[in-house]
């Protein structure tokens, strides 16, 4: 098990390096001179050269890259924002928590709704509930998150006034954005759960469990779910990427002060150091979650060994 994790992490490193190179190149491939952006366009050529030397911009690219990575790894320093002239890391730390809370809450919705719909659809196969569930899920997969968010906002915040329209704060601020973000993944989880549970329901051991005199729903909740959930957990974990991407959109809709809205603001203002840091951070988060999913798959399934 331990060696499996070590090997998976080792396999991830080249990928991380490539991803970091790509994000590093963001500042260097895009228009805009960092010195002039940071220190103003009015500085004298001599001062300009001096600053350029001081910032290390005259060094070869690979030296700059090395310094960039070293700063990130040793100090967690992602550089200075062009727009606010402040440290990017501080802003990221401030906002990271919001994005994590939002994605985790969405995952919670997705799992709760998705599992419930999937299990009901599978156990009541070919009934009206099953059909309704499947039509609803494919519709949910066709709804743009931002529109769904606006509609929820209109209904629950504007018309009914039950929940705040946007912003952050208490738990009530979290409900609409997380529901919006969780919808698509809930639909994927529901469809996948349904097919997985259907597969398991056909298994002989379900019949064995019934022959033992076990009650139907107990069989579904123990024998069936325990087997059916193994692929579902894996697949659900892999949807984390969709949540991270979706968070960018949903945060914009609900003015949620997370990393996603920070990214969009930075793109619109061409604040490349921030873009660079966020792109790297998002993909690292994603890769780490994928690793965790792989490991949890092994913990859940007794038939898997890591040799």
């Amino acid at each position: 098990m331990f060696s499996f994790i070590v090997r998976r992490v080792a396999g991830m490193i080249p990928l991380l390096i490539v991803v970091s190179i790509i994000s590093f190149l963001f500042v260097h491939l895009t228009p805009g001179d960092p010195i002039r952006v940071l220190y103003g366009t009015e500085i004298s050529p001599a001062a300009y050269e001096m600053l350029k030397q001081k910032e290390g911009l005259n060094d070869p690219l690979y030296v700059q890259y090395g310094r960039y990575i070293k700063k990130i790894v040793t100090q967690g320093d992602f550089g200075i924002s062009y727009r606010t002239k402040s440290n990017v890391s501080e802003e990221i730390v401030r906002r990271l928590c919001y994005t994590l809370v939002l994605t985790l809450a969405s995952m919670l919705w997705a799992v709760v709704i998705g599992l419930a719909v999937g299990i009901i659809s599978a156990t009541k196969r070919n009934t009206i509930w099953d059909r309704l569930g499947m039509v609803t899920t494919i519709t949910a997969l066709s709804i743009p998150e931002f529109w769904f968010g606006l509609m929820l906002m209109q209904i629950f915040a504007v018309q009914l006034g039950w929940l705040p329209t946007s912003g952050s704060g208490g738990l009530e601020h979290l409900i609409l954005p997380s529901l919006t973000l969780g919808l698509g993944v809930a639909a994927i989880v529901a469809r996948f759960t349904r097919s997985s549970v259907l597969d398991v329901l056909r298994e002989d051991y379900v019949r064995t469990a019934r022959a033992k005199g076990q009650r139907g729903w107990v069989i579904v909740m123990t024998h069936v779910l325990r087997s059916a959930l193994i692929p579902v957990v894996t697949m659900t974990g892999l949807q984390f990427g969709i949540l991270l991407g979706g968070a960018v959109v949903v945060e914009q809709v609900f003015a949620w002060p997370g990393l996603g809205s920070y990214l969009i603001d930075s793109i619109l203002t061409r604040d490349y150091p921030v873009i660079q840091a966020l792109i790297l951070l998002f993909s690292v988060q994603f890769l780490v979650v994928n690793l965790l999913v792989d490991v949890s798959y092994g913990l859940l399934n007794p038939q898997i060994r890591y040799e």
Binding site: W147, G245, F282
Partner: protein, 516 residues
Amino acid sequence: MNQQKSPSPFRVFLQKFLRQRFAVISLGLILCIIAVALLAPWLAPYDPYRPVTDQYAAKGIEAGRLTSASVKVEAVMSDGTIKRAKELGHLTLDSADRQIASARKAGENVIVNANGDGSTAILLSAGEAASRFKVIVSGEDNGQAYVSQLIADVQQHSLELGAEQTAKVKAVLTDGTELAGMNEIAAYVEKNAAMPAIKPAANDGFGNTRVTDDSHGLTFTSLEPDVVQVGSDGAIKAVGAGETAVKVSLDGVSTLIPLAVNQPLSKPIVTRLVPEELAIDLINRYKHQPPSGMHLFGTDHQNRDIFSRVLVGTRETLLIGFVSVSIGAAIGTFLGLLAGYYGRWLDALIMRCTDVLLAFPGILLAIAVIALLGPGIVNIIFAVAVFTVPIFIRIVRGSTLSVKQMTYVEAAKSIGVKDRVILMRHIFPGTLSIVMVYLTMRIGTAILIGASLSFLGLGGDITAPEWGAMLSAAKDNSRNLFHPTFFPGLAIVVTVLSFNLLGDGLRDALDPKLKD
């Protein structure tokens, strides 16, 4: 001879496909959507780029009709007869907020004009009698009910000297509620006094000079205190011979109770005014018109016809979907074929690149591309294409690997057919069915991603009639307005749903084993 003809694979596919009701319906829908995209400039009732108000004249639509309404006003006389407004010489009209609506007299009716969004009230007064009705413009009801009319009566209008009686008062609010009796009215007044938000509107005047805090409460005034005296609780006492009236007023609205002491009432006077309606709805034609027969989906913040914009936007939206997926699928299929067929270092190289692309979760890959290239519609297409490539590489590579094992491919190889020919003639057709299925499904996704990017403001031109951009432009007003966001979003849902259902149907018809 037993010549049993097996049906061609295509017919088998067609039969299976036609059995999927949803998929067939969605195919029909998609064809309709494509037709709309092609014919949009002719189908659109208005020019999607210009405010509709500029276009009314050309279309022969009388714009004024939309924004004004006429209200019939009647006066109830003391002898119970009804008089028309034009018979009242001195009807005055006063709007609480001229920015929202104004009124003027025209013949026997009152014409109300909308000037801006919101709701306000218009006070009608003739002599000492006054009534009010509410005007709501563009559906922006502030939810407030104003006092519309007062109805007061006494048991006897002709009194003996020294007789006493109490007036009965009823108030009608603009939302139709009736407040009967002093107690209910007092409760209403108290409640409204406790709501400071209402005060400015009331203090704004209604052209009434006697606006003080007291005037919010119900007041009784005798026009000639020598003849009758009246208390604040409506108790009337006849103190001298003559003819007069008691004026009852509440919040600017007033009515008269004619009274005569020791003599009959001589001529009828106007006791109260009755507008035909308590509240009227108007639309503001200068922006955000709600959906109506003229504008099926309403108009947006620049007063452009949303229905026309949705129709015309179909083209751009489909273009993003089709072009980006075609490019992505073409590149992805090509690389997937190469990786699957040649294997070894080429496979390793292509797959590692795919891994890198897939390391950027979901829509973030597309966002990163936009961040690099800058906003714009062409860049969106390119970004969505990049987003599509790795998925096709993976699928086609897997499919190629399995087709490669087929005997007919090995046979072709053994007789010395060139690799290029084997790839094009033997392997590519084998992967075609799965490519078709994913192509269809990815178009739906691509439209979603494209719309999301536009929504985020990464589409460059926010004024373009593209569904995502329309939503982006409308989102700032989404709190108050429903229709500018609802309809473009619905168009996206219908289109994407059609592609998804069609993809599902294709998949089931081509190979049921592919399910999930």
